[in-house]
Symmetry: C2
Subunit: 194 residues, 2 copies
DNA sequence: GTCTATAGGTGGATAGAC
DNA sequence: GTCTATCCACCTATAGAC
């Protein structure tokens, strides 16, 4: 781990709690007081590590994207077939949902209009990362005959991301996670059928 | 119009402004003060018409769903082909997006965990209405050979709704409405191809 | 129906002691 | 690094005059 990413224990715990709060309640529905209560510290302590909520939010997304990129690298290392990679990719989102959470950036996207610019940029970065990885998998799958779809890979990648975020959003609000599995199952079938 | 739905002018204007605020900023990012400023009245006046924010929110969704049902009835009256109905249905969402807004219930779904139960019930009601209408259109389209899809109509209907909400969410957060059009275009093509 | 005035609470954020 | 104490802005909501 690089020196730049070494963080004090309280800072790490703050990020973990804040992440969970954003994913379950949304950016505008959590406060420094919520985190302080969970950690057993005061809000002044939190402001020492993260001067502003905007800064905390930015680092939150950055960390989330970095961890996500790590998971994508693991998939690339463990599987060679495009359709298997796509399945595991969907599995990443399913795991988040099963943990009772919304995708961090999906949750933040809903409040995008109220967020500071740096946070909006980080959110785009996360979506761009998804799009790039998916595009590569789709290109590979199309070439090998493993996956089937019409039009540009980029558009198909965005389509997949749209479904994942939408299915999470609706499944959570309806308290029925099986809806996510049925929708993503349909999605996978669509790309795996000639 | 039934007597029960007649509302004082200020109440009507309040609902219109509040709706726009929720759709653009989210439930937890707007206040009675925002509405009061827009209408040129005091917050006390708003509380006369809507005692609590929860009550305002509930009536907001109820009104939205009622208007939406009216639009669905219009579609049914104007078109007979299932694929044409489906196109117009997607057009309803496109219109909301083009107005710079998120679907009201999609926006609220993101904050669902922080909402009072009556509001959550109204949100479900909206999604159920979508699902029921779509299921009927899909059943009809499959019967006439106008639409093509695998599995239960209900699952396909939910799949469509998931994409619409997800595509809106991402398109808005990326400030690129054309993404919505490309994803929904792909969706329509999927159901119209044998 | 709308106002003034205000209560009671919580929000993010800071100064300065330890 | 963490604390106590505090500021000021904003929130939802209410009482009572007009």
């Amino acid at each position: 781990m690089s020196r730049a990413s070494i963080k004090a224990l309280t800072a790490q715990r703050t990020l973990a709690v804040a992440e969970q709060l954003v994913q379950t309640r949304g950016y505008n529905a959590f406060s420094y007081a919520d985190i302080a209560r969970a950690l057993g510290v005061t809000t002044a302590t939190l402001h020492y590590h993260f001067p502003t909520k905007a800064e905390l939010g930015k680092q939150l997304i950055n960390r989330y994207r970095t961890q996500f990129e790590g998971a994508l690298i693991e998939i690339d290392a463990a599987y060679s077939e495009a359709r298997e990679k796509l399945k595991r990719y969907v599995g990443l989102y399913a795991k988040v949902l099963h943990d009772g959470r919304m995708c961090l950036c999906g949750a933040l996207a809903a409040d995008a209009a109220t967020l500071p610019k740096p946070m909006r940029s980080e959110i785009r970065h996360f979506f761009d990362t998804n799009e790039a990885w998916l595009s590569a998998v789709l290109a590979d799958g199309r070439k090998s005959g493993d996956l089937h779809f019409e039009g540009p890979q980029r558009d198909a990648a965005r389509y997949i991301l749209d479904i994942l975020e939408g299915a999470m959003l609706i499944a959570r609000s309806n308290d029925d996670f099986s809806r996510f599995d049925r929708s993503t199952g349909r999605l996978l079938a669509e790309f795996m059928t000639a």
